[in-house]
């Protein structure tokens, strides 16, 4: 298991390659990458992500550990950035590996659902003349109920 909370960009290709090449007993690897998307008005200048140093690492470790307890996973990777990002920048990624595809998919979705609403990150959208905190979505809270 590898949990990284960092301000610096990460290389999604290098991470995906290292993750899949490090496996010895898995037939399936799933990755999810979160990307800064422009806002509805198409004028996003910057995405700022605030986090809670200390708690962030604990929360991500807890979520990843729970995934390894629920599914038979050979490895789990979680990378999440904080600080300033531009549209099309990579915000975060998770990767899961298991013998079978269903476990790898389910564990990745579980990680994403919990990471969305249970890891202490807050997104702020900056345009030329406004800064607004992204509101949490009811559907994200609802997504936790299936697990």
């Amino acid at each position: 298991m590898r949990i990284l909370v960092q301000e610096a960009p990460f290389d999604v290709g290098a991470e995906a390659k290292a993750f899949s090449e490090g496996l010895s007993a898995s037939g399936a690897a799933v990755t999810f990458t979160g990307i800064v998307r422009d806002n509805a008005e198409g004028n996003l200048v910057e995405m700022l992500i605030e986090h809670y140093p200390g708690m962030t690492e604990k929360a991500l470790t807890k979520i990843a550990t729970e995934a390894t307890e629920r599914w038979d996973l050979e490895d789990v990777l979680v990378i999440h950035r904080y600080g300033s990002m531009k549209p099309s920048d990579m915000i975060m990624m998770v990767a899961t590996a298991s013998r079978h595809r269903v476990a790898a998919f389910e564990a990745a979705e579980f990680l994403m659902d919990f990471l969305k609403s249970r890891a202490p990150f807050w997104k702020q959208e900056i345009t030329k003349d406004s800064a607004s905190w992204v509101a949490s979505k009811e559907e994200d809270e609802d997504a936790l109920k299936r697990w």
């Binding site: 809670y52 969305k116 890891a119 990150f121 807050w122 809270e141």
Partner: protein, 81 residues
């Protein structure tokens, strides 16, 4: 006790953290004390359903006891991922 604030809670209160002298038994008691301090606290804590709380960096709730707790954090619902 160390009290920390994030996102718009931090902005409304106007500081990221502070030391608070309190004998509040629960998070709800602490919130009641803070609300009487100044208008900006009253504004920040006006709708508890829009707030989340962590005790010593673990998610908790407003009914939880503060016994032995060193750090209380208030923040809006999280929006990671």
């Amino acid at each position: 006790m160390k009290v920390v604030y994030f996102a718009w809670v931090r902005e409304r209160i106007g500081l990221p953290k502070e030391e608070v002298e309190t004998s509040a038994a629960t998070v709800a008691d602490l919130v009641a004390e803070l609300r009487t301090k100044e208008e900006r606290y009253e504004v920040a804590f006006s709708d508890l359903s829009a707030l989340r709380v962590a005790l010593d960096q673990e998610l908790s709730d407003f009914e939880a006891s503060l016994e032995g707790v060193k750090e209380v954090a208030f923040f809006p619902p999280m929006t990671g991922g």
